[in-house]
């Protein structure tokens, strides 16, 4: 664990971006009812389980048109 400490300044921004993407996707999922494919449960699981790729998939494939 000690070896990882010097890298924390780098790991934190990476984690922030991952979490920010996931939160943005989750907010969008819960604010909207209609999706192009899939349903709410599926997208919540995809976004939470697959880091980075999940939110991207949601924004590109799943997000319905406003």
């Amino acid at each position: 664990m000690k070896n990882i400490l010097p890298y924390l300044p780098f790991l934190i921004p990476i984690a922030v971006i991952q979490i920010a993407l996931a939160v943005a996707a989750l907010v969008h999922i819960f604010r909207h009812k209609n999706y192009r494919i899939g349903n709410r449960g599926l997208w919540v699981i995809v976004v939470v389980v697959f880091e980075i790729l999940g939110p991207i998939l949601y924004f590109t494939l799943g997000k319905g048109d406003d």
Partner: protein
């Protein structure tokens, strides 16, 4: 010309509103940051793993490892992300019928294609440059002063491949109808190019080499001259794809 400017503005607006710009910039920035870090931390990660009976010796990571990692991430995941983000840009508007109104009001059909291509290439360039600069900065911080051979040229190669892919997406969007037809056709084109890469004779001209040979450029296994043929074919194919999509889009039923 006025129509082109207005439509380009609308494209940028849409990229912002639909989270496309956000995802692209965030993901490519992430790759730029994570690649040198991963290269640097690889020995640490391996030493944390309890392995019994086997001693793994890993050579000390170098600057080149960082860039090899960068090109590996960018040419695989990065290209997939670009494909996902931009694949629907034309086909979705065609299926939704949102293009009918502006075109019947006098927007030229060429302007639609050109401004879509322009907007997508600008955001690809911006996010890719951001990733490159981030990777430069972090490599400098983690490894110190560095000079990698042909670094700028290999960065340019991957950028050109992205630009080519965007042109293929435009063409696929005009040829195939339906939401995911364009994405599928682009994936098929990629797959064919990868398959063709097996033949060493065509290899030299194949655009895919621009995305796969960056590491060998850095390791001095290839020279700029080896790739120049591929650069020219990619450039001409990009222009060809754009011209074809301009012509085909004129005849497309909206």
């Amino acid at each position: 010309m006025n129509g082109w400017i207005a439509f380009t503005k609308k494209e940028f607006m849409e990229q912002l509103r639909s989270y496309k710009a956000l995802t692209l910039i965030a993901v490519l920035f992430l790759f730029g940051m994570a690649s040198p870090l991963l290269a640097k931390m690889m020995p640490v990660i391996f030493s944390q793993m309890p392995v019994q009976g086997i001693s793994i010796t890993i050579p000390k990571p170098t600057i080149l490892d960082a860039w090899v990692q960068f090109f590996k991430n960018m040419s695989q995941m990065g290209i997939i992300v670009v494909l996902l983000v931009f694949s629907g840009t034309l086909s979705r508007e065609v299926t939704k019928g949102t293009l009918v109104l502006p075109i019947s009001k006098g927007l030229s059909r060429n302007a639609v294609i050109l401004s879509k291509y322009f907007a997508s290439i600008i955001s690809w360039t911006f996010s890719y440059a951001l990733a490159g600069v981030t990777a430069c900065g972090y490599t400098f911080y983690l490894f110190g002063r560095f000079s990698a051979p042909h670094l700028f040229f290999s960065l340019f190669c991957l950028w050109l491949f992205g630009a080519f892919l965007l042109a293929v997406i435009m063409l696929a969007g005009t040829v195939v109808s339906g939401n995911y037809g364009g994405l599928l056709l682009t994936a098929v084109v990629l797959a064919v190019m990868l398959a063709v890469n097996v033949f060493p004779r065509i290899n030299k001209w194949n655009p895919v080499t621009l995305a796969s040979d960056n590491s060998s450029l850095l390791l001095n296994a290839k020279t700029v001259g080896d790739l120049s043929a591929a650069v020219w074919t990619t450039f001409s194919l990009t222009v060809l794809c754009l011209i074809l999509s301009l012509i085909l889009f004129r005849k497309k039923k909206l």
